[in-house]
């Protein structure tokens, strides 16, 4: 999508033209995949749910009503609902396979790198224990590097509520981190 082309027009064209929808897909597939991956913890389900998200978007884009929010907010909402259903439906053990990310870093100093990897693993584990809202906020903030305003649009909250949730999330994460480290040292 070109900068000059307003998003509303782009979306209205995507409703009838599969080519334009294809452009929309290319623009957001990485972001949606990233979001789902951090929420599910494995590539297999991330691929599955990303496909479902875009199929649903394609199916319902005809009825999409522009309420002044970016189309990404709508796509994230679909992905969020699908992930919520996935968590609700699955009876299998939770898979935590986020190790590749931690291992993908460069190894300057093996010892400090090992420590960092350990910290990152713990942080991911703690993050995934948090409520869906808090996880969503952290992913949008750090992975997608969105502003509080954009996050508020996606999460359907006010900017103030997002700030407050972010603050509480960080404090809760710090608390959980300290508790975990304390129990490890004992």
């Amino acid at each position: 999508m070109s900068q000059a082309q307003p998003e509303a027009e782009f979306v209205s064209r995507a409703k009838t033209d599969p080519e334009v929808f294809g452009q929309l897909y290319e623009q957001y597939v990485d972001k949606i995949y990233s979001y789902i991956y951090y929420r599910t913890g494995n590539h297999h389900d991330a691929e599955d749910l990303t496909a479902k998200t875009f199929y649903q978007a394609l199916q319902h884009i005809e009825r999409y009503v522009d309420r002044g929010f970016p189309i990404s907010a709508w796509l994230y909402r679909i992905a969020h609902n699908l992930v919520a259903n996935w968590h609700r439906d699955r009876s299998r053990r939770q898979v935590i396979a986020l190790d590749e990310i931690a291992l993908a870093s460069q190894r300057h100093n093996p010892e400090s790198e090992l420590e960092l990897q350990d910290d990152r693993r713990l942080l991911l584990r703690l993050t995934r224990r948090m409520s869906a809202d808090r996880q969503q906020l952290l992913i949008l903030k750090f992975v997608e590097q969105m502003s509080n305003r954009e996050i508020a649009q996606i999460m359907g909250r006010t900017e103030g509520a997002v700030k407050s949730l972010y603050h509480r999330t960080l404090l809760a994460l710090r608390e959980a981190w300290a508790t975990e480290r304390e129990s490890e040292s004992q």
């Binding site: 990485d30 995949y33 691929e47 496909a51 875009f54 199929y55 952290l138």
Partner: protein
């Protein structure tokens, strides 16, 4: 004699006040308990506050946490093969849906036209039958 009467009257008066005094004592006792409980609570709170981290340390820890979050929560890309094949599948599905929508519109138009035609025919037939019954030739007003 008069003094004894006075004493008796005083005792009577005191006796009548006894239930009220007992009530007051109970209130005073419960009030004392409440005060002791509140004081203990405040002392515990102060002790907890002493054990807490200073605000500057909390801020430093939060900054460290944010830095670690930045290093940990990094964007992940899907496999290029997956992204490409999903894009193609969506393209096919999109074309099918568009064709389906067009077909739906076509059928809707045909249906509407047929129903209009039906209504017009019915009206014509009714008019013709009405004219036949009154004996007037068709087409004569």
């Amino acid at each position: 004699m008069q003094g004894e009467e006075l004493d008796c009257a005083g005792e009577e008066h005191l006796r009548s006040l006894m239930p009220q005094m007992m009530l007051n004592t109970r209130i005073a006792q419960s009030l004392g308990k409440e005060i002791r409980r509140a004081a203990a609570q405040k002392m515990r709170y102060r002790a907890a506050m002493r054990g807490r981290m200073p605000l500057e340390d909390v801020v430093i820890e939060l900054r460290k946490l944010v830095r670690l979050l930045c290093k940990t929560l990094v964007p992940v890309r899907p496999r290029s093969e997956f992204a490409r094949s999903l894009g193609e599948q969506l393209q096919v599905r999109g074309t099918e849906l568009a064709a389906g929508r067009q077909r739906r519109w076509l059928w809707l138009m045909v249906g509407s036209l047929l129903s209009l035609l039906g209504v017009a025919t019915a009206l014509l037939l009714r008019r013709r039958n009405g004219r036949l019954q009154t004996g007037k030739p068709v087409g004569v007003m």
